[in-house]
C-alpha cells in the first residue's frame, strides 16, 4: 500500500462520517463542529492531490472564518435541539433518501465499471499546487475575475451590515 492511498482512505472515510454527523445531529453546535472537522479532513484530501495552497485556504477560510461566524450566530440565538427532526418518517424524506442513494449507486457503477482507471497524474501537478504558481496565474490570466470577486466581497460586507444592524427608532 502506498502512503497516499492510506491517507486518502483514512481522510475520505472521516470526511464522509463528519458530513453525515453534520446532517444527522440534532444540536446545531454539534453540527457546526462536525462541519469544521469535515473541512479539515477535506483539506487533508487536497494535500493528497498536491494542492497545498487550496488546502491551507480551506482551513483558513472555511474552518477559520466562515464557521466561526456560524458558531457565533448559533450561540447568539441560543438555539436548542431541533425537535421535529426525529419525528415520523414522512414521504418527502423517504423520496429524498431514495433519490440520494440512487444517485450514489449510479455514480459508483458508472465510475467503477469501466475497464480502465485514471491513476496517472502528470508531473506538472506537483508544481501547480504551490503558492507561487497559483498566485502567478491569478494575477495574470485571471485578473478580471479576481477584481470581480473583490467587488462581490465589498457588496456582501455592505449588504450584511444593512441587513443585520438594528433599526434605530426616532
Amino acid at each position: 500500500m502506498d502512503l497516499q492511498f492510506i491517507l486518502f482512505f483514512v481522510f475520505g472515510t472521516l470526511a464522509i462520517a463528519s458530513a453525515s454527523a453534520t446532517v444527522l445531529s440534532k444540536n446545531p453546535v454539534v453540527s457546526a463542529m462536525a462541519l469544521v472537522f469535515h473541512f479539515c479532513t477535506l483539506a487533508c484530501v487536497y494535500f493528497t492531490l498536491n494542492a497545498q495552497f487550496v488546502g491551507a485556504l480551506q482551513v483558513l477560510v472555511y474552518a477559520g472564518a466562515i464557521m466561526i461566524l456560524v458558531i457565533f450566530v448559533i450561540m447568539l440565538l441560543n438555539l436548542g435541539n431541533e425537535k421535529a427532526f426525529a419525528e415520523k418518517f414522512n414521504y418527502r424524506k423517504g423520496i429524498a433518501i431514495m433519490l440520494g442513494a440512487s444517485f450514489i449507486i449510479m455514480l459508483a457503477t458508472s465510475f467503477l465499471s469501466k475497464n480502465y482507471i485514471t491513476n496517472q497524474m502528470p508531473a506538472s501537478s506537483l508544481k501547480n499546487g504551490t503558492v507561487e504558481k497559483i498566485g502567478l496565474d491569478l494575477f495574470t490570466s485571471y485578473i478580471y475575475p479576481f477584481e470581480a470577486i473583490a467587488l462581490l466581497l465589498c457588496v456582501a460586507v455592505v449588504g450584511a451590515i444593512i441587513l443585520a444592524k438594528k433599526k434605530i427608532s426616532h
Binding site: V29, M33, G55, A56, I68, F72, M75, E132
Partner: protein, 352 residues
C-alpha cells in the same frame, strides 16, 4: 518513495516531534516562573522563592497542585464540549510549532536534517495563521459549553477580538511576504541573511509594530486580556474549569505567547540568522557548532520577546472593550493595508 526513505522520514519526524512537544511544555512552565519573577521585580517584591533554588520548581509544584484538584464539570454544562475545549486549545497551540525552524540544518549520516519538523513547508505562514484561527474554537466552545453567562461573554469577547486582530495581522504579514517573496519560513529567514540591518524590522517597521500589537490581542494577553477581565467577568471563559483542564488553558496561553515570540523573531528579526554574517565564525554549513550558534541566536531573540510580553503585561493598564475594537478596526487595519500598498509600490518603483 521507497520503504527505507519512509522509515527514515517517520523516525526523524517522530523524534523531532517528541523532543519539541516536551520542550514546549517545559518552556511553558518556565515562562510561568519567568512571568512571576519579572512581575515581582517590577512590583518590588521577591516573587516565588520557596520551592527549589530561586523558586525554579514553583511551576512544577503548581502543576502537581492542579493535578490533585478535583475536576468539576457543571451539571448543566454540555459535557463533551466541556471536555473537548481545553484539548482543542492546547492542541492548536502546540500544532503551530510544526513549521517553526530552530536552526538551519545539520548533516547526520549523509542525511540533511532540518532543525524543525517541516520548516521548508511551502505554505508555512498560511499554516500558522490557520492553526491560530482554529485555536479560537477552543475558547469559544469553553465559553459556550460551561452554560454560564460570564463564560459565554468571555468566550464571545475573546473570539471577536481574535478574529478582528487576525485581519490586521494578516495584512501586516503581506508586507513581509512581499519583501521576501515566499510563504516558507526558512525562505523568509534566508532573505534576511548577513548583517543585522538586513532584518525585516528595518524595512518593515510599521508591519512590525502592527504585528506585535495584534499578537498581544491574539494571545489574549494584557493590555488586551479582556476575555479574562476579573472585575467584570469573574474569570472569563475559564470560570467553570478546574484542575488540569484549567491547567491546559493556562499551558495553551503560555505556549501561544512563545509562538508569538518565535513568530516575531522569525519574521522581523532574522530567526536563526546570527546578527553578523555567519562566515565570520569560520564554521561550515551543516556542522553541529554552527547549528548551535544559530539555535542560541534564535532562542535569545525569542526570550527577549517573551520578556517584552511580560513587561508590557505588568506595566500597561487594560483597554476598554470598545477602545480595543476601535483600535483594531479603525487604526491597525487601515494602517496595515496602507503598509501593504506602499510596500508593493516601493517594490515596483525601486525594482527590489
Amino acid at each position: 518513495m521507497n520503504t527505507a526513505n519512509i522509515t527514515w522520514m517517520l523516525a526523524e519526524t517522530g523524534i523531532k516531534a517528541f523532543v519539541i512537544v516536551n520542550i514546549i511544555l517545559v518552556m511553558a512552565s518556565a515562562e510561568v516562573w519567568l512571568e512571576r519573577k519579572v512581575c515581582a521585580w517590577i512590583q518590588k517584591r521577591n516573587g516565588p522563592n520557596r520551592v527549589g533554588p530561586f523558586g525554579l520548581l514553583q511551576p512544577f509544584a503548581d502543576v502537581v497542585k492542579l493535578f490533585m484538584k478535583e475536576d468539576i464539570i457543571p451539571a448543566a454544562a454540555s459535557k463533551n464540549f466541556h471536555r473537548l475545549a481545553p484539548l482543542l486549545s492546547l492542541m492548536m497551540a502546540v500544532a503551530v510549532y510544526a513549521v517553526i525552524p530552530y536552526a538551519n540544518y545539520v548533516d547526520v549520516m549523509g542525511h540533511r536534517v532540518y532543525l524543525g519538523i517541516a520548516p521548508n513547508l511551502n505554505i508555512g505562514l498560511l499554516y500558522i495563521l490557520a492553526m491560530t484561527t482554529l485555536g479560537v474554537y477552543g475558547i469559544t466552545l469553553a465559553g459556550w459549553s460551561s452554560n454560564n453567562k460570564y463564560s459565554l461573554l468571555g468566550g464571545l469577547r475573546s473570539s471577536a477580538q481574535m478574529i478582528s486582530y487576525e485581519l490586521s495581522m494578516g495584512m501586516a504579514l503581506i508586507g513581509v511576504v512581499l519583501v521576501s517573496g515566499t510563504l516558507c519560513l526558512n525562505g523568509v529567514i534566508d532573505k534576511q541573511v548577513g548583517w543585522f540591518w538586513h532584518w525585516n524590522v528595518f524595512c518593515q517597521p510599521i508591519a512590525f509594530i502592527i504585528f506585535t500589537v495584534a499578537s498581544f490581542a491574539e494571545t489574549n494577553r494584557a493590555p488586551f486580556d479582556l476575555p479574562e477581565a476579573e472585575p467584570e467577568l469573574v474569570g472569563g471563559f475559564n470560570t467553570e474549569y478546574s484542575g488540569m483542564k484549567f491547567g491546559m488553558f493556562f499551558l495553551a496561553e503560555y505556549a501561544n505567547m512563545a509562538t508569538a515570540s518565535c513568530f516575531i523573531a522569525i519574521l522581523f528579526f532574522g530567526g536563526w540568522q546570527l546578527p553578523f554574517p555567519q562566515e565570520m565564525l569560520g564554521l561550515k554549513d551543516g556542522s553541529v557548532q554552527l547549528a548551535l550558534a544559530q539555535f542560541s541566536s534564535f532562542f535569545i531573540k525569542m526570550l527577549l520577546f517573551i520578556f517584552f510580553f511580560i513587561w508590557v503585561r505588568w506595566t500597561v493598564p487594560r483597554f476598554r472593550y470598545d477602545q480595543l475594537m476601535s483600535l483594531g478596526w479603525k487604526i491597525l487595519l487601515p494602517l496595515s493595508i496602507l503598509n501593504a500598498l506602499f510596500t508593493a509600490i516601493a517594490i515596483i518603483v525601486f525594482k527590489l
